[in-house]
């Protein structure tokens, strides 16, 4: 029972089933009782009518005058109605037109009724005990027995039961259906919420926007607050790292400046330069690594093209001498789940390298295939050296004349690793470098 709907449906079905079985039992019992009561009343009436037709015969025994019997069925054979009169010794004194099966006589007390339903043959029997006081003042005990065929009663009961169960089942089915629909409708906001959360996870939405019932509003607000706080956390963290970088690097810059100060003796300058360079590398590497957000479940979906466009504008300014021409292509409305800062670093380093080493023509293509978001940067420079892959692993500089190629690519490599993606260095169709970065969706 993992789904709420299944639980609710199961519980509702069980309650419904119990309710209907109980209802059926009660209705069945009530119907049966009232029918039996009616049967008994009818037979009692018959006994009274027989009593009215009772006479004493010549022997002084009690008998029933057929002509006086008001219910003519007793006079006709095979009417389903039979009657008999027994005396004290259970001898048959009188029978109706037909009294084939003789059940063992019931001898209720005087003025007492005994009502039974017999199984074989299926009949109702009502016995009435009486004492007949005639003119000779010699009271005698008799028992009237009236039998009525029960087949019609059984049939009636069967029909009733069939109807009862049929309608109850239909009602139960209808109720279950309604129940299902109500549940569906009632739980629809929950399903919608789950879908929206999935969309947030896939990076198609940045927050939960839809309007929800009162009971869920605090939940969605909580979720949104959580999503936002996770994102703010990253921003705060990055700012803290920025402050740290600032407070570390300004003194480093001072030391670096001292190492180039002509008034400082050369034997001091050289080790100072070396040590400061070392410190700089370590701080650069560690800060960059710490600032990389990497894959996060609730990262806001980001449109990479505007970021790339911002970087190209900035670089156009920086490399104004070179008249760099950028071509940028991305599917419309393209968004990917990545950290804003990471994308800035990714495009910044890739495009800066392409500006530095290329011949001024740079093409950026952003696309998506089945598994990955793909970023491809082509330039028309000399392309990557043979040991390009090694370049990626360590911050080896590709060209010592232009520092930073290795550093920039190493930074890109760190980010790609944090996203569990891949980076491939190849040759562009212009003969320059092509960097393909694949970040899993």
């Amino acid at each position: 029972m993992t789904s709420l709907r299944a639980r609710l449906l199961a519980a509702a079905s069980a309650v419904l089933a119990a309710f209907f079985v109980l209802t059926a039992a009660v209705l069945d019992g009530a119907f049966r009782d009232s029918t039996l009561q009616a049967q008994r009343d009818k037979l009692e009436g018959l006994v009274y009518s027989l009593l009215a037709a009772a006479r004493t015969d010549a022997n002084g025994d009690l008998t029933v005058e057929p002509n006086d019997i008001s219910d003519r069925r007793l006079v006709q054979p095979a009417s389903g109605l039979q009657a008999a009169l027994f005396d004290e010794q259970a001898r048959l004194v009188w029978t109706s037109a037909e009294f084939l099966e003789v059940p063992p006589p019931q001898m209720p007390g005087v003025g007492q009724w005994a009502f039974h339903q017999l199984r074989k043959p299926p009949v109702f029997s009502l016995s009435y005990g009486l004492r007949w006081i005639d003119l000779q003042d010699d009271p005698k005990r008799y028992t009237f027995v009236v039998l009525e065929d029960a087949t019609s009663f059984e049939r009636q009961l069967r029909t009733y039961r069939r109807e009862l169960w049929l309608w109850l089942a239909a009602a139960a089915g209808g109720l279950l259906l309604v129940q299902y629909l109500v549940l569906r409708w009632g739980l629809a906001p929950v399903r919608r919420l789950v879908n929206e959360l999935n969309a947030v996870e896939r990076g198609e939405r940045s927050e939960i926007h839809g309007s929800y019932p009162d009971e869920l509003v605090s939940l969605t607000q909580g979720l949104n607050a959580m999503i936002r706080s996770e994102r703010n956390q990253q921003t705060r963290y990055r700012n803290a790292l920025g402050d740290l970088a600032h407070s570390l690097k300004t003194p480093l810059a001072v030391l670096f400046g001292m190492s180039e100060e002509p008034r400082v003796p050369e034997e001091l300058r050289s080790p100072l330069r070396e040590q400061v360079g070392h410190m700089q590398q370590i701080t650069d590497y560690q800060l960059r690594k710490a600032a990389t957000a990497g894959r996060r479940t609730l990262a806001e979906p980001i449109a990479p093209a505007p970021i790339a466009a911002k970087i190209t504008q900035a670089l156009t300014k920086v490399y104004a001498d070179r008249e760099v021409k950028f071509e940028l292509s991305a599917p419309p409305q393209f968004r990917m789940r990545a950290d804003n800062g990471d994308l800035f670093e990714l495009f910044g380093n890739l495009l800066d390298n392409a500006c530095k080493y290329g011949g001024g023509r740079i093409r950026i293509r952003i696309s998506r295939d089945d598994q990955d978001n793909v970023i491809e940067v082509d330039d028309d420079g000399p392309g990557f050296p043979e040991e390009a892959q090694e370049l990626l692993q360590r911050g080896v500089r590709a060209d010592t004349q232009k520092p930073g190629q290795g550093i920039g690519l190493a930074a890109v490599y760190e980010i790609v690793k944090a996203y569990e993606g891949r980076i491939v260095l190849a040759r562009s169709e212009w003969g320059g470098g092509r960097v393909t970065v694949r970040l899993p969706i």
């Binding site: 810059a253 001072v254 650069d284 911002k310 300014k317």
Partner: protein
């Protein structure tokens, strides 16, 4: 050339100031954003070096406000946050280039010179106008490939005039851009420099590179090659 250095760290500010002073710049310094912004909008600045992480008014704000006030001199930002986001933000605000701390002295000066050249419309560090070539990096001047010996101030005047070739530059503008605030300013000295430059560059009077416009100033008239 007049450089403005806005940096809160006193040591680094001292170093950068020294670097530019050694290169022959007149340097103004500001230790915080408010002073920096005042100088950037009011002083005759040729290039500004702005630290992004300033207390008070941030470097970005200074750049934005200076640009809004119509100041168009090149701005080089110094940043310790090597994130691209802050670089892009600075460049979008109106800066022209960035340098990440720590930096090499030579790189800072090379970038600054390149920005100054670029603002004058020159792509190469060698500024050539007919037979006259001024190498802004090596600080040498040749006329018909013959080297010309100039004093530091003569060179500054020549460089400024060539970078503003075709424009009328007044004596007061030249003094403002060549002397640091505390130095004694005497506009008569400029006349002396101009006279000496004419005799050194154009000893036989055939080129006439500098035109004097009475009452308004000087103009470099040799066309670019």
């Amino acid at each position: 050339m007049r450089a403005l250095v806005i940096e809160d760290d006193p040591h680094l500010r001292g170093q950068v100031t020294q670097m530019f002073a050694d290169e022959g710049f007149a340097v103004d310094q500001a230790a915080d954003g408010e002073n920096g912004l005042y100088m950037a909008t009011e002083y005759p600045v040729d290039i500004a070096i702005v630290d992004l992480g300033l207390p008070g008014t941030s470097g970005i704000d200074i750049i934005r406000k200076a640009r809004k006030a119509g100041r168009s001199f090149p701005i080089l930002i110094l940043t310790a946050r090597d994130g691209w986001q802050s670089k892009v933000e600075g460049l979008e605000a109106g800066a022209d280039d960035y340098l990440v701390k720590p930096f090499h002295r030579e790189e800072l000066l090379a970038r600054a010179r390149a920005l100054l050249r670029r603002s004058g419309g020159w792509a190469q560090p060698q500024l050539t106008c007919g037979p006259v070539t001024v190498d802004t990096t090596a600080k040498t001047v040749t006329v018909n490939e013959r080297p010309v010996e100039l004093t530091a101030y003569e060179f500054k005047v020549l460089e400024y005039l060539i970078l503003h070739a075709g424009e009328v530059v007044s004596k007061s503008t030249l003094t403002e851009h060549l002397y640091a605030e505390e130095d004694e300013r005497d506009s008569n000295v400029i006349e002396v420099f101009i006279r000496r430059l004419r005799t050194k560059i154009d000893p036989d009077g055939t080129l006439a590179p500098i035109t004097t416009l009475r009452g308004s100033g000087y103009r470099w008239d040799l066309p670019r090659s």
